[in-house]
Amino acid sequence: MTETATARPPWLARWCPNAEWVLLVVLALEISVFGLTAPHFFTTNNAFDLVRQAAEIGLLVLGLTPVIKTGGIDLSVASMMGLAAVVLGGAWSVLGLPLGAALVVTLLLGAAGGAFHGLLITRLRVPPLIVTLGTFSLYRGLAEAMTGGYASYSGFPTWFLNLGQGRVAGWVPAQLPLFAAVFAGLWLMLHRAKLGREIAALGFNAAGARFAGVRVNRVLVRAYVICGLCSALAGLIYVARIGQAKADAGFGYELPAIAAVVLGGTSIMGGRGTLHGSLLGLLCLVVLQNGLRLAGEPEEIAGLGAGLILLVAIILNQSWTRMRRTRQISLLRPSTPLAPEEFHMKNSQIALLVAAMFAAALLVAGSNWWLVRSLRSVAATRTAPAPAKLTIAVTPKTTTDPYFVTCKEGADEAARELDVNLLWNGPITGDPAAQNEIVNGWITKGVDVIAGALVNPAAISSVLRKAQNQGITVLTWDSDAEPDAREFFVNQATAEGIGSTLADEGARLADGQGQYAIITATLTDTNQNEWIKAIKARMAAAHPGMTLATIHPCDGQRDKAMTEARNIVQAYPGVKVLIAICSPAVPGAAEALKQADNHNVKLTGLSTPNLCRDYLHEGWVQSIVLWNTRDLGYLTVYASAAAREGRLKRGDTSFTAGRLGPLKVDRDQILLGQPLVFTTANIDQFHF
C-alpha cells in the first residue's frame, strides 16, 4: 500500500514500515544505560519480573492494536478488567459456578462488551471515542455497584492462581507462554490473514475498503470483540496474580496501554501499525520503569521519562514517515490529509518549536537537571567502593498522600542519624500491582531490609516471602501483611483502635444520639474499609443511639470531599456528625462547613495536624484522630536497622528507638502507642 520514496534496504522497509527501528534504538539505549548503571538489571530473575509486570498491560496492548489500526480507540479496556474481575469472583463464589465455567462466562462478557462497542459504532454511527468514554464509566461503575466497592473474592484454587503466580518448568512465569500464544495468534491474524488486510484497508480508507468488497461493519465489530476478549483475559490474569478479585482491578491501565500502541508506530488515524511494533513500544515503557526502579528512582520519574520518550519517538517517526505520505481517512477524522505542499515546516517554525519545547522542558521540573543528576548519582554509587552501609527500602501505600509525605520526613531523619541508605518509593495512586513491582525490583536489586505499608496485604505477602527466602529482612508498618511474611510489624494503631477512637469521638460530638455519615477515600480502599467496619462495630456496641446515614467516596480529593460533605449535610438533615477518614477529606469537609457557616454539624476524622490546624482553631473541625506520623516513619527505619543487625529479636519486650525512647514490643509487633486525639488543646505541639 505504501510507496517508499527513500533508499532503505527492503528488509527494513518490510519489517519496520513505521520506523519501529527508532524504538529498537531507544530500547537498546535503555538496556545499555540500565545495564551499566543498575546492578542486577541483567539477570534472568529481573527479565521474568519484567514479563510478569508487562503481561496484563501487554494483553491490553495486543487487543488495542487492531482497534487503533481501524482508526478507532477503546478507552474502556481497563474498566473491563475491573468488571471481568468482579464477574469472575461473583460467578464463582456467589453463584457457585465451577471456576472453569466462570472463566468462560467472563471471557464471553469481554466479547459481549466488545460487540456492544462495535454495534454502537457501526449501527448508530457513534464515534468510538465517545462510546468507550461512556463504557469507561459504565463498566467500572457496574463493577463498583455489584460489590459496593468493598466486597472482594479470594480463596481461589491453586491451579488458577498459578496462572498469575506460578512458574512453568520451575522458572518461566506462567504468563509468558499464555502471552506468547495470544501474541502469535493475533500476529498471524493481523499480518498473515484476510482479517488483518481488511483492518488495514478500512483504517486507511473506510469508503475505499467498502468499494473493494470489505464488509466494513463486520470487520470493525470483530476488532472490538478481540479487544474486549483481551481486556477480560487481562482482568483474569490480574486476579490470578493478585489472588483477589475486586472492582479496582487494572485501574488506570488504559493510558499506558494506548501510549505503548502509538509508541509502537500504530497510527491513531488508522491504517498503519504492526503488532510487533506495539510489543516494542510496550517493552520500551516497561524496561524504562523497571530500570529506573532498580536505579532507586521514584515512580514519577518513569512517568516523566515515558512522556518524553513518547513525544520524541513520535516526532522522529512523523518526520520519517512524512517522506512516505499515504492518503488516509479515518473514523476519527474525516478531513483528508494535506498534500505535501500544504504543511511544510519553515526554519523559523522549527526554531519556534524547539524554543517552545525547550521552555517547557525548563518549566517542567528541570527534567534535564534531574536526569543528569540521577544518572550521575547512580554512576557514583557504582564507581564508589562498595559501601558497607545498610540499604533500607521503605514503601508507603502511596507517595502523594500528605499522611505518607509526613512519614517520609521522619524516615529521612532516622536515616541521617543511623547513616543508612534509605530508598523510599511507592505507587503514585495506591495501586497494589505497582507496589508489588516496586518490591520485586528491590528484591532483584538486593537491598538489606524491606519495610512496607501495604496497599493490599493479600496480594503482596507472597512477594514478601520471596524476599525473606533471599535473605532480606522484611518488616511491615502502617498496615500489616500475613504474619509469616514478615519479621516485625511496626504498629501505630490497630484498625479496631482507630475505628473505635473515631467512633467514640463521633459519638462524643453528637452527644451519643443521632445520625453520622462517613466520607471515605474510595469505595475500594482496603484500609478505609477496615476502619469503617471497626467504626460500625464500635457504634453498635457502645453507642446504640448513633445510626449510620451514608458513606460517600471523595476519590482522595479535597475538592470532591467539599462537594460531598455539603451534599450530605443538606440531603441528610439528621446527620449530626461527619467522620472523614482520609487526610484530604477533613480539610475538604471543613471548608464546606465553613463556607456554609454551619455550626450544627460536627466534624472529626483522620488527617494530619498541618492540614487541619487552622480549621481546628476556627472551630470547623472538632478533633482529628492520628498518631505521630513523623515518629512512625522514624521508628520504622530504626526498627528496620535493628532487626537487620540483630539488636531486635523475637521475644524482646522493649525497643529503644533514638529520640523516641523505649517502646513496648508485643511478640512480633512494635507498638508506637495509642492513636492520639488532636484538639485545640494539643495540636500546636505537633508540626507535621
Binding site: 488515524m269 513518547l310 474525516p334 500544504e342 515546516m345 517547557a360 517520609k408
Partner: protein, 311 residues
Amino acid sequence: MKSAQRELALLGAILVLGLLPLFGVPGFYTVANLRNLALDNVPVLVTAIGMTAVIIVAEIDISVGSVFVVCGALAGLTAQAGLPMPLVVATTLGAGALFGAVNGLLVAWARVPSIIATLGTMAILRNGIIHATGGAWIQNLPPGFQWFGLGQNLAQPVYLMLALALVVAGVWTLRQTSLGRSLYAVGCDRVAARRVGLNPPAIILAAFVLLGTLTAMAALFNFTRYPTIETNAGVGFELQVIAAVVVGGTAVTGGRGNLLGTLLGVVLLGMIGTVLTFLHINPAWAQAIEGLIILAAVVSDTAFGRDHAHD
C-alpha cells in the same frame, strides 16, 4: 446553522433529572444549594469552553487535568512568594497559555496527533508536579489568596458572573467573529480551509492556546476557593471536561458543535452526583449511572436521525 434537537434533548434530560429531587429530600432547590452546585462546576465549564474550540477543529486535549493542577500550584507558589494578586493571575494565565502553545505546536507544526501529544504532556506535567512537590500541599498562602481577598459572599456571585460572561464571550466569538468561523472551517475540511486562504496550523495553535489559558483561569477559579492548594487535584478532570463537551453535541470528528450544548452538557453531568445524593441512592451506583447518561445522550442524538459524516 442547524436544528436545535440536541439542545432540546439535553434540556429535557436536565428537566427530568431536575424533577427527581422533588420526590426526595427537600432542600435541593435552595439558592445556596444551587449557587454552590454551580460554583463546583465553574472550573469544568470554563475549561469546556476552550475544549469545545479544540474539538471543533477536530483535535483533542487530554492534558487539561495536569495543566489545571500545575497552574494552580504556580498560582499558589507565586502568591506565597509575595507577588500581588494581579501579577499572580497574569503569571498563571501566561503559564496556561504557554502549556497550550506547546500542545498546539506539537499538534499543528510537529504534526503529532493531538491525542498522543497531549498524552505525553499530560504525563510530563502530572509527574513533574509530583516530583517537584513530593505530594506536599502548598500551605501558608497569604490571606488575600482565598477569594482574592474579596470575601466569600462577594466573590461567589462574581465568579459565577465571570464564568457566564466567558460563556457569552465564547458564544459570540464562535458565531460572530472570523476566528470562530475559521475554527469550524478548519474542523470541517482542512484542505478547503487552506484553499480559501486560512492558515490551519495557526488556527489549531490558537485553539490550543485558548484552551490552555482557560484551563489556567479554571484553576484560579477552583483553587482560590480554598486557603491551601492540593497538589494531587485534577485527576480525571480531563474526562469530565471532554464528556461534557461531547454530550453537549460537539462532534469529535470536527466542524460541528456549539457552546450552548456544552453549557447544557456541563449542567447535566454536574447535577448527577448531587441529585443522586438527595435521592439517597447508594454512591456505588453513581459512576455506572453517569456512564449510562453519557451513552444515552449520544445515542439519542443519532436516534433523532442526525447525520454523521463518517466517511
